[in-house]
């Protein structure tokens, strides 16, 4: 018990520290990296409460895929950080006072008097061969099938919304339609000779080309 408790406090402290750094870092790439740290340490917290599957998925999906993608996006964005920082500092005193009051309140309610092990007993651990992955799968597709389907609809909405908000048809892009390419025939499609007169492009004015100035004057 003692060592588990120690591990919990270590990872909890790392999570809180990393979360604090996420919102205070000037450099947004650093902020994203701290967010990764926060995710990893919360995955460790999940392992401690025997939610192994969730912990692993958090590392694999969020840290491994989502955050890496996010890092790319953040690197490409040019965010005006100084302006954001100024607002942050301006409201800091008020925020600190409110946060302090909230923390005090939270401590009164969530402190040891209401949340100690003597108030809420520690749940019994699972036996050795227990796999919470298979249990999760079974529960998800039987008891929680309705909620699971709604979650699927939410993902569909996210796709539709993202496409609607970002996809624009741009007429100026050099876009080649493969269907048109495949349909090309040997005859008039590939090569077509057109006779046309030489094009007369208006020359730039005198100052632009001093060496050939005289000729242009004559024209």
């Amino acid at each position: 018990m003692g060592f588990e408790k120690f591990l919990f406090y270590v990872f909890a402290a790392i999570t809180v520290f990393a979360a604090g750094m996420v919102v205070t870092r000037r450099n947004s790439v650093h902020a994203v990296l701290y967010l990764v740290l926060a995710f990893v340490s919360s995955a460790a917290l999940w392992l401690l409460i025997e939610a192994e599957f969730l912990g692993i998925v958090l590392v694999l999906v969020y840290v491994g895929a989502v955050m890496v993608l996010f890092l790319f996006v953040v690197m490409m964005l040019d965010v005006e950080i100084a302006a954001l920082q100024a607002q942050f500092i301006k409201h800091l005193p008020v925020g600190l006072v409110i946060a302090g009051l909230m923390l005090f309140n939270l401590f009164l309610v969530l402190g040891p008097s209401n949340f100690g092990l003597d108030v809420i007993a520690k749940p019994a651990g699972q036996p050795a061969g227990y796999s919470n992955t298979s249990v999760l799968g079974q529960e998800l597709y039987t008891i929680y099938v309705y909620q699971f389907e709604i979650a699927a609809v939410i993902l569909l909405v996210a796709i539709v919304a993202a496409i609607r908000l970002t996809l624009r048809r741009r007429p100026d892009t050099k876009y080649i339609d493969p269907a048109e390419q495949v349909k090309v025939k040997k005859g008039p499609d590939r090569v077509r000779l057109v006779s046309m007169s030489a094009e007369q492009t208006p020359r730039p004015p005198l100052a632009a080309a001093p060496t050939s100035g005289d000729k242009e004057m004559a024209q």
Binding site: N114, I150, V157, R168
Partner: protein
């Protein structure tokens, strides 16, 4: 859990809406451009079918609550009535917005799809019988609304409004989830009956429970837009395209009512002494700030935003009464408000036209000369919002006030009446502008048949429901028979 086919029948209205949305999504992809108007036909047919499905399911199960999917889904008289109401409001919203959105090249498949999915989210919330289902429905609704607010991609105001809505909405959801996690920690359950049983056994001694309740209430107040969690409402209404503001101000308020009723009345009735005290504060603040600040607005969308806030205060009055009459009155108010808001924004949508947004109060000047019928309908809606008899707004206010006088809170009733008199000023100012001011603009008013039918139904429903409230009221009372 043993899954039964009858569960799917109970779910029929939701399934119809889901299938309609997916059909529009696919049809929009394959229909040639000139036949895209069929989207509208599919949507109308789907909504009508869903309305019929609500009726069929409601009649076949009667007044007994029906559970499905292992208790995650509940169908009862309250869910039937509220689903019917949101379906009607959504039908009206589609009828109003067609011309406006077409002129701005926003009458595309995605608009139908997102509104239908938002409707699905509302229906899931109305029928939720546990915190998990409620939260998923809420997120489904909210995601669609964020995208809809930013639907006009070229509008900076729209993007700003969507951003504000998204950040504050996510914060509200976070508060709600935190509260739910506390309640789950204290009771060990997320189903509403199980939570209610555990809370009844534990009573109010459990501090964690009360702590969780506070956060859940903050979440509910965020979604309703009650003071002091109201800051997003005026900005979002102003920035969103008018038809989106129409939808946003009407149907989701019914969903918010359902959420409050399910969580507070179904799951946490044992804590009613705690939550009714909090609701009194929220309600007085909402009525006060909503009505007073609305007077200073020159933008009519912002004015209607603040008026929403004040109406939310009235809905809370009914809920905090804690009696079945009070709940029924609040439900009547929520349905009536959804119709009133749809009417008010509907008229704004109709008098906007290509390159011109009806946003300012001045744009309504002289509407009586430009279009007498539309002016009459707008007047009806405004009188109803102000609470003038014999319109439905009066009945709604009367029922709510009666409920709180019955529990002895006469001072609260007096405060409510005083603030609604303050509110009458800005509603009547609109009527004065419509009839007694010279028109400043001479633009055509929407002449499409669908919108005309919608506004006539909407305006006349104020009168009909106000003079014959018995039918709707008995349905509301049937929902809360103890």
């Amino acid at each position: 859990m043993n899954f039964q086919a009858i569960d799917l029948f109970t779910l029929l209205p939701e399934l119809v809406v889901l299938i309609t949305a997916c059909t529009v999504l696919i049809a929009d992809l394959y229909l040639p451009k000139e036949e895209r108007d069929n989207n509208q036909l599919i949507t109308f047919a789907g909504l009508a079918a869903a309305l019929a499905a609500v009726g069929v399911v409601g009649l076949s199960f009667g007044s007994e609550p029906t559970l499905a999917f292992g208790g995650a889904f509940i169908r009862d008289p309250m869910s039937d009535l509220l689903k019917g109401a949101v379906l009607v409001v959504t039908l009206l919203a589609f009828a109003y917005s067609a011309r406006y959105m077409r002129e701005r090249e926003m009458w595309v498949g995605e608009f139908h799809v997102l509104v239908l999915f938002a409707l699905l989210g509302i229906m899931v919330m109305i029928s939720a019988n546990g915190f998990l289902t409620m939260y998923l429905g809420l997120e489904l609704l909210a995601l669609c609304l964020y995208a809809l607010v930013a639907f006009n991609r070229d509008s900076g105001a729209g993007a700003e409004a969507a951003m504000k809505y998204f950040v504050l909405g996510a914060l509200g959801s976070g508060m709600l989830l935190y509260g739910v996690s506390m309640i789950y920690g204290a009771t060990g359950a997320i189903g509403f009956e199980a939570v209610a049983a555990a809370v009844a056994a534990d009573g109010m001694d459990n501090k964690i429970l009360v702590f969780g309740l506070v956060f859940v209430l903050i979440g509910i107040a965020f979604k309703f837009g009650a003071v002091p969690f109201h800051m997003w409402i005026p900005d979002v209404y102003q920035g969103a395209p008018a038809p989106v503001a129409l939808f946003l101000s009407s149907a989701p308020k019914v969903a918010a009512f359902a959420m409050a009723a399910r969580i507070l009345v179904d799951a946490l009735p044992a804590l009613s002494a705690d939550w009714s005290e909090i609701l009194i504060i929220l309600s007085v603040l909402s009525m006060g700030i909503g009505n007073v600040v609305a007077i200073a607005q020159s933008n009519i969308k912002r004015m209607l935003g603040y008026s929403t806030i004040s109406h939310v205060g009235f809905i809370f009055l009914g809920l905090l009464a804690g009696s079945s009459e009070g709940y029924a009155a609040a439900m009547f108010y929520a349905v009536a408000y959804a119709l009133m808001a749809a009417g008010a924004f509907g008229v704004l949508v109709m008098i906007s036209h290509q390159g011109f947004e009806a946003e300012n109060l001045d744009d309504l000047k002289g509407l009586g000369e430009r279009d007498p019928w539309l002016a009459a309908m707008m007047t009806m809606v405004m009188f109803s919002m102000a609470g003038v008899p014999p319109l439905v707004g009066f009945m709604a206010k009367l029922l709510v006030l009666q409920a709180i006088i019955d529990i002895g809170l006469v001072w609260l009733a007096l405060v409510a009446v005083a603030f609604s008199i303050v509110g009458a000023f800005y509603y009547l100012r609109v009527v004065k502008m419509i009839y007694f001011d010279k028109p400043e603009i001479d633009a055509p008013v929407d002449g499409t048949r669908d919108a005309r039918i919608a506004v006539s139904i909407n305006g006349l429903s104020m009168l009909v429901l106000g003079m014959f409230p018995a039918a709707l009221l008995s349905l509301c009372q049937a929902a809360f028979v103890a």
